[in-house]
């Protein structure tokens, strides 16, 4: 059973990272997260949509709407990464790496016991 991601920062990183490789729509992003994680991770629509719209509002991604279906009741919204989105992704990845390093230091330094 894949682990469902609710963490907004992780979803942002994954969305921006995947968009580096070309335009994607919401369901294709969900599929790629599942397949590339070898079915260990998944993200639900209810978590993904607010992230996509917030990233779009901040200018980190843009959208291209394609109306599909016979009665035009459906659309496919393709998202693309912008230059500022690329910068934001680098910032998020750097922050994440820093936090990961700091946590490893805490784990290592606490091995001998924690003295408050």
């Amino acid at each position: 059973m894949p682990h469902i991601i609710y963490d907004k920062t992780i979803i942002e990183i994954l969305v921006l990272f995947l968009l580096q490789h070309g335009e994607l729509y919401a369901y294709s992003i969900m599929k790629l997260i599942s397949s590339l994680s070898e079915d260990t991770l998944s993200v639900m629509g209810g978590s993904l949509y607010p992230i996509l719209y917030k990233l779009k509002d901040k200018g980190y991604i843009t959208d291209r709407i394609e109306i599909i279906g016979k009665r035009q009741r459906m659309s496919r919204v393709y998202y693309n990464l912008t230059a500022s989105g690329q910068e934001y992704l680098q910032t998020l990845l750097a922050d994440r790496a820093m936090i990961q390093n700091s946590m490893e230091k805490i784990f290592k330094n606490a091995e001998g016991g924690v003295d408050s």
């Binding site: 729509y25 919401a26 949509y49 509002d57 459906m74």
Partner: protein, 137 residues
């Protein structure tokens, strides 16, 4: 799409009523398009499987609503509140008028049955009615 999936989308739509109409319609079009892509890969899929992949209608709607700018959402909520207040005022006013009319009708009936009515009051220029002349034998 099956009846169940249409019901699923309708439920999302219902929970998005506070959204401005155009935005709500475009959000639903996008969701419908994504579900359609999911169905293309799994023609026999059930509404339960769609729900498992995309989330419950309340989760989807909450996600959409969270993505709206606060000002837009607040404006829409205030507009709905104003419309509801207006409708309630009209209904209350109508209820009061109907109550007054009903009350007058009841009072009038009571007054007539107790001889307090003004129906027999003399009218200027017209002689009073001779009731004995209308007695029947």
């Amino acid at each position: 799409m099956t009846v169940e999936l249409e019901a699923y989308l309708k439920e999302v739509d219902r929970r998005l009523l506070v959204c401005p109409k155009q935005r709500r319609l475009s959000l639903l079009k996008e969701l419908r398009g994504n579900i359609s892509a999911f169905l293309d890969e799994r023609p026999q899929t059930t509404a339960q499987e769609v729900r498992a992949c995309f989330g419950a209608p309340e989760e989807i709607a909450a996600g959409f609503l969270k993505s709206l700018p606060d000002e837009e959402l607040n404006e829409q909520l205030h507009l709905r509140k104003r419309v509801l207040t207006f409708v309630r005022t009209i209904v209350a006013a109508l209820a009061i008028v109907l109550l007054l009319l009903f009350g007058y009708h009841v009072y009038d009936g009571y007054a007539y049955s107790h001889g307090e009515t003004s129906y027999d009051a003399p009218i200027e220029g017209i002689p009073p009615l001779d009731k004995s002349a209308t007695d029947t034998y």
